[in-house]
Assembly symmetry: D2
Homo-oligomer: 293 residues x 4
C-alpha cells in the first residue's frame, strides 16, 4: 500500500519499521527532523511537510503525543484534512480524548475522507516485534482497508464498532481499569502492613491466584520493591490518561467512583513531589495517607 | 497426626477428606449431625461434642461460617478453649474479622494453647483436589507442626508472619482487591457502552492483555453475559467480606476509597433487589447509576 | 412525675437538675457513685442499683456513653428491663446505633414496657439552660407522657415518628451532615490556599453568605485559627459517630459517598496522631493530603 | 468614573443599572443588541463594538456566560485587550476557571493593562438592590480604583489577594461547598427515610440547629417538597461549576473526595434525565441509588 506516517516517536519508529518490513511504500514526516534518520536508512522517504506526506497516499497514519498535537496535525493549515486525497484514510493511532476523536472524525467526514481511530496497547518493544494490540473503530470498509497494516503492526486487532470514539473509549478504559487496580492494590498493601505482614506475601497470594496477570505482577513488583524511580509510565502521564477517561465519563454521564479514587491518589502523589516517579507510586501515596511513611 | 475437625460445610467436607486420605487419625464434629455422614463412611470417627472432638488431639481445625460461629465454637461453654489440651493447636480456617482473630488468639494464649489463623483461597473443587491456597499466621513452630496437614489440603501455604490476624488481613485483602476490580470493570463497561461499544470487545482487550487472569476472566464473562442469576458468590456475601475488610481498615486507620466505592455499589445492588445475585451484579448496578438500565 | 435517671455524666447532671427544678420526684443512679453528689445536694435521692432506680417509677431516663453501656444497663442482670414496672417508659437519651435501639425496643415491648428513643442535640451548657433539641421516636402515647420532662430539658422536641430507631437515625444524620460539611470545607480551604488566598477570606465569604450558621462558623473558625488542640469534640468521637451513621446506612442499604470521604479523612487524621484533636482537624489532614503541611 | 460594561444578561442589566444610578458615566455593549434597550432608556450610551465600549474608559467591566465567551471578548480581534487604554482596568466579573483567569491576567499584563477578577455571589434581585457579595483579586491599586463601583454594586467586597485567580478559586469554592452540602443532605434524607422518618423532621432538626443558614434552608426545602421542576440553578449548570472547581483542584493538585461524590451524583441525575431540574435533584438521584424511587 501507499502509506504516509506522521509522528516518529519511539512507538512511531517501531511501527513504521514494521510497515516498511511488510513491503509497503512508506513516506514519513516528523516535526523534529532528526527522528526520521533511522527509518530513512531502512528505506522510507522523508517528506518535508504534512502536505507532502499525504500526497497521493491511500492511508496516512498519525501517532502523536496528545490532543493538541493531533488537532494541529489534522486541522492546522496544510494539515492532514487539507492534504489527504478524498476517499483516503487517516488512521489516528495516538491516545486521545473521545471529544477530540469525535471532532476529527466529523472534520474528515466533511472532507469526504475516512478516519479510523486505532489506539494501541503495548510498549515500544511490542511495537518492534509487531505484537501490539490494536483497537480499531470507524467505518467497517475503512478498517478493512487498513487490515494489511494492522497485520504487520499488531498481533490482534479488536474491532470497536463503527464509531471512532468507541476505540478511544476502550483504550482509555484499559488504562482506567489499570489505574484503579493499582490504587486498590495500594490500599490492600497498606492494610496488611498495618497488621505486620511483609508486602511480598500479599503479592504472592494475589499473583498466584485470581490476579496472575501482568497488571498485578508488574505493578505489584514495583510496589513491593518500592522501585518507583525507574518510571515505565510516570504519575504525570497516569494522571493525564485518567483525566481523559474521566472526561469521557463526564461527557457520557457515567459516575466513576473508583476512577475518582485513583485520580485523587495521583494528585496527592504529585503534590508530594512524586510526579516523575512510576505511577505505581500511588501505593506509596496511599501508605502516606495511612500514616505509614 | 491426631486431628480434630469442626465444621462440615462444603469446604470442611472436602478438606477433612483430604486429611483422612493423607493417613491422619481424624475425629469430626458438626453442629448439624447429618453433614458428618459422608466423612464417617470414609473412616472418620464422629464426636458428639466439641469437647469430644478436642479430647487428646494435637491439632483441631475449625472452619465455620462467621465470627459469631467461631466465637461460640471456641469460647462457648465446652468449646475448644475449654477442651483442647495445653500445647495443642487450634487452626482457624474460616474467613473472620481481624478483631475476632485477635480475640481468639489472646484467649488461646491465656490457656497455654496455640492458635494458627489459616484462611483458605479456593472453592470446594479446589479443596477436594488438595489445591487450596492457604495463608497461615501464628507462632512459627505451630505453623510448622501443621505442615503435614497443609500439605494434603493445599497446593501452597503462604506464611503471613507471627501474628494470626496478619493471615486474616491477607485473606480479606484478596477479596477486597477482587471486589474493587469488579467495580472498576463495571465502571469501564458502562463507559464504553455509552460510546456504542459491545461489552465483549472491552472484555477481549482486557483479558488478552494486562488482565489475563481469573479475576477478570471469570467476572468479566459474567458481566458480558449478564449471567448474574447463577451466583458463585452472592452480593450479600460480597458485602459481608468487604465489610470485614473495611472493619480491618477502620481498626488499622487505613483510608480505603476504592473499597468504599465497592461497598456503596454493593449496597445499591442490594437496595435494588440483587442481594442474591452473583456479586458481579455490581456492574449492573453501575449501569443503573449511569442511566443504562 | 415519678422519675428515675441513670447516667450522671456532664449531660446527665445538667438534665437531671432541670427535671428536679421542674418539680418532679427524682431518683438517680450512676455506676460510679461520686458523680451523684451534686444532684443529691439539690434534693434527688440516690439509688444503690438500677433495680432501685426503676422501682415504682413511671419514667426512667438513661443517658450513657455507648452501645455497650446502654445494653448492659437495659438488658444486664438487674437491669432496666428486669426492673421497670409494666407500662412504664424507658427513655433512652444517649446517641446509639439504630441496631441497638431496635434491639432494646423489642426487648421492652416483650416485657410490656414502653421505650422512647430521645437523643439530644446540644452541649452541657444548653442542657443546663433547658435548651436542648430533643428528637423523640416511639409510641405516640409514650412520647406524650414524657412531654412534661421534655419541656423542662429542651427548647423543642422533634417528633421522629413511631419507630424508636427513626430518632436515632435523625441524630446520627445530624452529625453525619456536620462531618461532611467539615470535610467539604477542608477541601475548599486547601484549594484556595494553593491559589494564594488567606483562609480567612474564604471563611468570610462562606459565613456571610449561604453558610451563615453555627456549623460553618464554629468549625470554620477552628480551621482558620488552626485551633485544634482544645477539642470540643475529638476526632476519635467523630469517627465513632460517623461509623454509627455508616452502620445505619449499611443496614438500610444506602450508599453514602460523602460520608465515606469524611470517614477516610478521620482515619487519616488519627493515623497521623490527631485522634485527640478537635475533629475539625480533618481540614489539616486534607491539607496534608494536598502536600500543604 | 468613565465606565464600560460588556454583557447585559440578567445580572449585567441589574449591575449596570446600579453603576448608572451611582452617577458614573456608562457605555454598554452586548453581542445581542436587544438586551441593551432597558439600560439605554436609563441613560447609558450603547456602543456598537467592544472597541467602542473600551474607548477612553478607565474601567471596563465584563460579565459573560462562560470561559469561551470571556476569552473571545478579551482576546478576540477588536477585543478588550486590543482596545483598552494602557493603564486602564478590565474587571472580569463572570464565574470562570482559574486557568482562564490566569491566561487573561497574563495577557492584560503584557499589554500594560490591569485586570481584576471580581466574581459575584447573589442572584439578580440582590444585584438590583446593590447587595451582591463581590470577591476581588488583583493588584491592590487596581482593586482600590474599582472601589466606587464595588460600592454601588455590592454590600461587601472581599479582598482575595494580589492574584486574580484567587478570587476565582473562592467563588468556585463557595459553589463547591454548596454542592457538597446538598449531596450530604441528600444522603441523610435517604437514610432517615429508610427508617420511617418524614423528611421534614430532619429538615427541622438541621435548620433549627447547626445548619440554620440559606444553603440548608433553601435547598432542604426544595428537597422536602420535591420542588425540583422550578429550577433556580439547574443540574447542568451545577455540573459546570463543580467541574470548574475540580479543574482548579486538578491544576493545584488537591484531592477532593467530597467534590467527586457531588460530581458523580450530578452525572447520575443528568443520566436519568434531570439535567434541567434544580440541582437539589441530587437528593432524588441519591434516593434512586438507594432504591427509594
Amino acid at each position: 500500500m501507499q502509506v504516509g506516517f506522521i509522528g516518529l516517536g519511539r512507538m512511531g519508529q517501531a511501527m513504521s519499521a514494521r510497515i516498511l518490513g511488510g513491503g509497503h511504500d512508506l513516506v514519513v514526516y516528523n516535526r523534529t527532523p532528526g527522528k526520521t534518520a533511522e527509518i530513512s536508512k531502512l528505506g522510507a522517504r522523508v517528506a518535508p511537510s504534512i502536505a507532502a506526506v499525504c500526497d497521493g497516499r491511500e492511508v496516512v497514519i498519525s501517532i502523536v503525543a496528545d490532543d493538541a498535537a493531533v488537532k494541529e496535525v489534522t486541522l492546522g493549515a496544510g494539515g492532514v484534512k487539507a492534504s489527504l486525497p478524498a476517499g483516503a484514510v487517516h488512521v489516528v493511532m495516538g491516545t486521545h480524548s473521545v471529544a477530540t476523536v469525535q471532532m476529527l472524525a466529523a472534520a474528515h467526514a466533511q472532507a469526504n475522507q475516512q478516519m479510523v481511530s486505532a489506539p494501541v496497547l503495548g510498549r515500544p518493544d511490542a511495537a518492534a516485534a509487531g505484537k501490539l494490540m490494536i483497537v480499531a473503530g470507524g467505518p467497517p470498509d475503512a478498517v478493512r482497508r487498513c487490515g494489511p497494516l494492522s497485520e504487520v503492526m499488531g498481533r490482534r486487532t479488536f474491532e470497536a464498532g463503527v464509531k471512532q470514539e468507541g476505540a478511544a473509549a476502550i483504550k482509555l478504559s484499559n488504562n482506567f481499569v489499570l489505574g484503579c487496580a493499582i490504587e486498590a492494590m495500594g490500599e490492600a498493601f497498606s492494610l496488611v502492613r498495618k497488621y505486620g505482614v511483609a508486602p511480598g506475601v500479599l503479592y504472592d497470594v494475589l499473583t498466584e491466584g485470581l490476579f496472575a496477570s501482568p497488571a498485578y505482577k508488574v505493578y505489584g513488583q514495583i510496589i513491593v520493591g518500592q522501585a518507583y524511580d525507574k518510571a515505565g509510565f510516570t504519575t504525570h502521564l497516569g494522571l493525564k490518561d485518567i483525566n481523559l477517561a474521566l472526561a469521557a465519563a463526564d461527557q457520557a454521564r457515567v459516575p466513576v467512583p473508583s476512577g475518582n479514587a485513583c485520580r485523587d491518589r495521583l494528585l496527592g502523589a504529585i503534590a508530594h513531589g512524586d510526579g516523575e516517579k512510576d505511577w505505581a507510586v500511588m501505593a506509596r501515596e496511599q501508605a502516606r495517607a495511612s500514616g505509614l511513611e
